[in-house]
Symmetry: C2
Subunit: 306 residues, 2 copies
């Protein structure tokens, strides 16, 4: 039997596909983080690159409000920039669509994209359309980050606290279409040296927290009772639903009280919650929660994504 994508997870697939890639000295951060970071900009800034695709009947359906589908496509990428403390500036849109797609529906999708792009100061500088038998909306975005702020997911240290913004779980009831990407919050957090690592929660804490730990060569212990559950959600959902688009970070434990107090003043309407601790490899503890987050190929995810 030939091995197929169904047999291996998304992370393992990317690892195999990208092995053999040689990078030169312009690359600060290649595959594996929220965004790629390369040199080339003046004044102590780095260029930040990101692509993100939404597939019809996987990430959205034609029954959802079209303008919110477009909004989501752009907001997901802004969220990734936020997780790096970076500022998005220019975007391109790649659209694959069946020939029978109604023009009016697509115009609504683009209207949603244009509106949120304007709101965040992002220029839509082009893209491409081509025919296919399934809708795909892929966004490619560039922007900048101060070299000093550039926050990888691999920077967590043993003893750092696991901290998240906002509430988790139940996003597919609607929040996945209307979430506010944590751009300002991400920039604020990236400017604080107490924050050692950051990423956004797109595939769910169950998938993304182990990723951050692994990238940092660590494991983690979760305080399940501390999980900030969205209204109507339990800890299992907060752990594994995904599409939260909140920020996950590693915070120096000595600095936590001060960071937490400053956060409360800067963002009084958004919670910042300590939910666990990063520990040395070998001393972590897999939580006894249900579900494992979303994997694009081994697919133990939500109804929509299945």
């Amino acid at each position: 039997m030939k091995e197929t994508l169904n047999d291996i997870g998304e992370d393992e697939l990317i690892r195999r596909l990208m092995s053999g890639v040689v990078l030169d000295e312009t690359v600060i951060l290649g595959a594996g983080d929220d965004c790629a970071v390369v040199t080339g900009l003046p004044d102590g800034m780095h260029l930040v690159l990101k692509t993100d695709a939404m597939v019809g009947d996987v990430h959205f359906t034609m029954e959802m409000p079209a303008d919110l589908v477009g909004r989501k496509a752009i907001a997901r990428v802004i969220s990734d920039f936020g997780a790096m403390g970076a500022l998005p500036r220019h975007a391109m849109i790649t659209l694959v669509a069946p020939g029978e797609t109604p023009v009016a529906w697509l115009l609504d999708v683009y209207r949603g994209m244009i509106r949120i792009a304007d709101e965040y100061g992002i220029n839509l500088v082009g893209g491409e359309t081509c025919r296919g038998n399934q809708l795909v909306i892929s966004i490619s975005m560039t922007g900048s980050v101060a070299a000093s702020k550039n926050l990888k997911r691999s920077g967590a240290c043993a003893g750092d606290l696991v901290v998240v913004t906002g509430q988790l779980g139940g996003s597919l009831r609607g929040r996945h279409l209307t979430f506010e990407p944590r751009a300002t919050e991400g920039e604020w957090l990236a400017g604080n040296p107490a924050v050692h690592a950051m990423m956004d929660l797109s595939d769910g804490l169950a998938k993304d927290l182990p990723r951050m730990a692994a990238a940092s060569g660590l494991e983690f212990v979760l305080d399940e009772a501390a999980l900030p559950c969205a209204e109507g959600c339990d800890a299992n959902q907060a752990w594994s639903d995904g599409e939260d688009y909140e920020l996950l970070m590693a915070v120096d434990s000595a600095d936590w009280p001060e960071l937490s107090a400053a956060w409360g003043k800067a963002f009084p309407l958004l919670s910042l919650t300590m939910i666990g601790r990063f520990v040395e490899a070998g001393s972590g503890c897999r939580p006894a929660l249900l579900g494992g987050g979303w994997d694009h190929f081994t697919a133990a995810g939500s109804t929509l994504k299945d």
Copy 2:
């Protein structure tokens, strides 16, 4: 009846979708050219951005050599950079694939991408994979161009000669998988002030020459007998087959003899052929050739692309 993508052409679709887009002063060149160009780089350079997607059973099939499919995905974008006189530096790969796709096939595709990226000094800095019911390989690339060289497709003047590199037609017999993108040639041509406008021939002369003329507010007269036909092809095929990935340009007629002679010394193995003339709107002449080039939605293209 609702209007669908089948009812309007690709160019009209993009025009409608992108209407309402507001650009700020950082954008030198937005949607509508081979690449987008924005400010931000030091030393008189601009940042160049491009995305390009290939769809399974539209641009390639799984029966084609997988490494050449990967090579083509990257080469198409290098070709667009060549058409701007720009240098590509960093690329991201978006892969949409069915779960039953063989891992080995994808590894071969990526092997082809990695090889040509290395050859052209392009860093593969990341990307994304997601599940879908059709293969899509989308490449997003950034690079740089000297502000002084930045060659739009809209710069043609009435009286300029229509000039193309290489031979045209019959690409789907194999050349569409093995073509050498005109990167060096594009940079050389962009550095010559006799060249007023340039683009690459991806959808075919029948589609791309009218595009250049329209972008420049002009029409054209074609010398059909002068078309450089690939071996075994007639003028109709050279006109409309597409996927040539040669360069199309507008050249100041007074400078043509000198440019042509210098070209012959710089690139003795590649022809540079004058095939017509740009003229004022109203005085052009639609060639009496068959076929109209490739449109992604109204689809009067080749067997493969249909």
